[in-house]
Every structure is written in structure tokens, then in C-alpha cells.
């Protein structure tokens, strides 16, 4: 027996009334050990901010989840702690991107800038060419982690099948 899957449809521009009723962007408490801000912008193929996007972040090892809408400047923010690495892999967060214009959400990952050795050995990251690899590694900026998501263009973020 195999049932046909229900197709995907866009989250549309008004998801916030259903999916962002209260802040849900803290994967860990702000005062938790190792807590840091992960901030970034969601940017379209014209370099314009996507102001009606929604980002979800998931730490599979620590079973921590969060959700952030994007603001007028396309900005999202999370409070995260670096997850424990799984054997042979670098620590990372899985990330889903939802927006008007995306008929199906996109899957990507964010890695940590202070894990150069683990990142170099990570089987998924190391399989990418350097410019693509860089799109998945956050940068240190003013005591926070900075990671932008570009849906299109020369520096487009790597997205994965799902």
C-alpha cells in the first residue's frame, strides 16, 4: 500500500498570523552556557531583502528547534549554542527556508567558523567547492554569528534535496 504524498504549497506572505504568534527563536536560553546570537539576512536574486520569509533551525543532536520570521530588512535571528558534533561530522544546524514565492521550502545547513578542522573533514561540506562551502559557514561579527542566506546569484547559498 502506498498513498500519494500531499503536494507542497507556498507559505505565502501572511504566515506570521499562524506561525509567528510568539517568539520561538531561542534554541537555548539566552543565559545558557555557550549561548550566542545567530543573525543574518535572507536575500533574493536581485539583492533585495526578503521581508516575508521564515527560517527554522534544528539541532538534531540536542533536539533543539527554533523559528524566526524575517523583518523589513530580511533579517532573522536565533539564540543558539553549538551542537555536539556527530561522529565524523562537523557541528551544524539544519535550516529550512520558507517564503512567498517558494512553492516548496528549501533545506540548507549552517556550520560554525571556529571549527576549521572539523569543517574541513565534514563529508557534506568537504564535498563542495570552496565558494559553495563558504555559503554554509557563519562568520564571527561583533560577538555574534553572522550568516546570510542568498536564494539566487553568484554567491547563492547551497540548498539540499529533501
Amino acid at each position: 500500500m502506498s498513498l500519494p504524498r500531499t503536494p507542497s504549497q507556498t507559505v505565502g506572505p501572511y504566515y506570521a498570523i499562524g506561525l509567528s504568534r510568539k517568539p520561538q527563536n531561542e534554541l537555548v536560553a539566552r543565559n545558557a552556557p555557550g549561548a550566542t546570537m545567530l543573525i543574518g539576512q535572507l536575500i533574493d536574486g536581485q539583492g533585495a531583502p526578503i521581508s516575508d520569509g521564515m527560517i527554522e533551525a534544528w539541532d538534531a543532536g540536542g533536539k533543539r528547534w527554533g523559528r524566526s520570521g524575517t523583518d523589513a530588512d530580511g533579517r532573522f535571528s536565533f539564540v543558539v549554542a553549538k551542537p555536539d558534533a556527530q561522529p565524523g561530522q562537523a557541528p551544524r544546524l539544519d535550516v529550512l527556508v520558507f517564503a512567498r514565492g517558494l512553492l516548496r521550502h528549501e533545506l540548507t545547513r549552517v556550520y560554525f567558523p571556529d571549527e576549521a578542522d572539523a569543517n574541513a573533514a565534514d563529508p557534506v561540506l568537504s564535498a563542495l567547492d570552496e565558494p559553495d562551502r563558504a555559503t554554509l559557514v557563519a562568520e564571527q561579527e561583533d560577538g555574534a554569528l553572522r550568516w546570510d542566506i542568498r536564494t539566487q546569484g553568484d554567491r547563492a547559498t547551497v540548498f539540499f534535496t529533501h
Binding site: 500531499t6 507542497s8 504549497q9 499562524g18 506561525l19 534535496t161
Partner: protein, 242 residues
């Protein structure tokens, strides 16, 4: 707004797409600068995670499942019951999974600052609900039937009546966000979002079914809509991994 695109708003049916939505569907203009243009990268199967966030009953507040009882008065519009089962592809129920919905009010207006459609807001309707599926994978909402509304995608563009659904399922990679439609909507044939699902059989899966048994006498019309989550990136269901 004049239609200047060369491609038609609605493309012919193409059953080869199956359940996949055409993500770069040209008739839906917002796809143009937003949908990734490069091929997606495949993660080797051994590096997939089979876990996803789990939400408990503490996430659900009173009246989250009844959108007609979230304010002092009753919302205007046609009261309806929307219920169905969340299943995997083998027909097994997906239990205790979070289902979130949001929708326009009966006049076709969302309670959202960006929505400037000149239709009235309803002080007694927020348009958002959530619930967990039960042991049979069943969800249930009481709400009002949403109105159609214009959306500016092309000349005289109107969305068919729909309720937005967000589901988690057992793995983060099996997450689904979609829209539920109502049977017999005359706007189906003009809607590029609906038709971005190119296979007509797959489009049918987005349409709820009127059900007299679900209908509550003297109270609310009933609609049934089952949701089937795919196998996710792992290509298997958790049972098969045992």
C-alpha cells in the same frame, strides 16, 4: 496590473510531475527572484538525521483548535469543521504531531498588516489555530470558511478559498507546508499556485471533501482532508529502519 509575462498564468497539465510542485512555475511571479536556480545538492543517505522536533500538549492553548471561540463574540461567516488524518505513505497514522493553520476571514482578509485588501477585518476572528494529532493521526479544527481575495499576481487575480497548513511529522526533512482548498471552487482553473502542481491527480489531493457525517446538525458544515507526508530525505520510514 497588465499581464506582461510571455508565459501563460496556467500551464497545461503534466502528470510526469506527480506530487512534486513545479517550484519555478512561471505564472506565479514571486518565484522569479526567489526560487533557487542551481540544482539542489544531495546529502549521502548515511548523513541524514532521522529526528525532528517534538511538540507536547503544553504548546496548545485553550481554543487553539476552535477559531470561532478565540474572542468574545462569534466571527462572521459560515462555521465549518475541518478534520482528517495525517498519514505516512504506508497509511500509518502520524501521532502527536503539531498541525498549525492560518487563513483569511469570511470576507477574504487576513489579520496581517501587509494585507490591505479593502474587505473588513473581523474583530472576532484571528484566523490562526493549532492542534496535535491524536492516536489515530487525526486533527480537528472548528473555523469559518475563508473568503477568496485578490492578490495582484496578474490582472484580476483571485485566490481560491484555502486554509494554510503546516505539519512537522517525525523527521525535520519531512516537514510540509501546504494549502487546503474547498471542493468546486470556480477559481481553481485560474490559479497559478494551485496549478504549479502540474499533475491533476496530485492537485485533487489538495481539495477537501464535503462530508455530511462530519457536519454537525444545526451548527457547522463538515469537511474531511487527509494529509500524507512523504518518506523524507532518508527514503525510508522509521518502521523500516527497525
Amino acid at each position: 496590473m497588465a499581464q506582461t509575462e510571455e508565459s501563460p498564468i496556467v500551464l497545461p497539465d503534466d502528470p510526469d510531475f506527480g506530487p512534486e510542485v513545479q517550484v519555478d512555475y512561471p505564472g506565479y511571479r514571486s518565484t522569479r527572484w526567489r526560487v533557487p536556480k542551481r540544482p539542489l545538492v544531495t546529502i549521502p543517505e548515511e548523513f541524514h538525521d532521522l529526528a525532528g522536533p517534538v511538540f507536547g500538549h503544553e504548546e496548545i492553548e485553550e481554543h487553539d483548535g476552535d477559531l470561532t471561540r478565540q474572542h468574545e463574540g462569534a466571527p462572521l461567516g459560515e462555521r465549518i469543521v475541518v478534520t482528517g488524518r495525517v498519514l505516512d505513505e504506508d497509511g500509518r497514522p502520524i501521532r502527536n504531531t503539531l498541525v498549525e493553520i492560518w487563513q483569511a476571514n469570511a470576507a477574504g482578509r487576513y489579520r496581517h498588516q501587509v494585507d490591505q485588501h479593502p474587505a473588513p477585518l473581523d474583530p472576532n476572528f484571528s484566523g490562526a489555530g493549532r492542534c496535535l494529532t491524536d492516536d489515530h493521526g487525526r486533527y480537528r479544527f472548528v473555523t469559518i470558511k475563508p473568503g477568496s481575495y485578490p492578490w495582484g499576481n496578474h490582472e484580476n487575480a483571485w485566490r481560491p478559498m484555502h486554509i494554510h497548513f503546516s505539519l512537522f511529522g517525525p523527521e525535520f526533512t519531512r516537514r510540509l507546508v501546504t494549502q487546503m482548498y474547498f471542493p468546486g471552487d470556480p477559481l481553481f482553473e485560474f490559479d497559478p499556485i494551485f496549478h504549479a502542481v502540474r499533475d491533476p491527480k496530485a492537485r485533487e489531493l489538495l481539495i477537501s471533501r464535503f462530508d455530511l457525517d462530519t457536519t454537525q446538525p444545526e451548527w457547522a458544515l463538515g469537511y474531511q482532508w487527509d494529509i500524507v507526508l512523504g518518506r523524507g530525505a532518508s527514503g525510508t520510514t522509521p518502521m523500516e529502519n527497525l
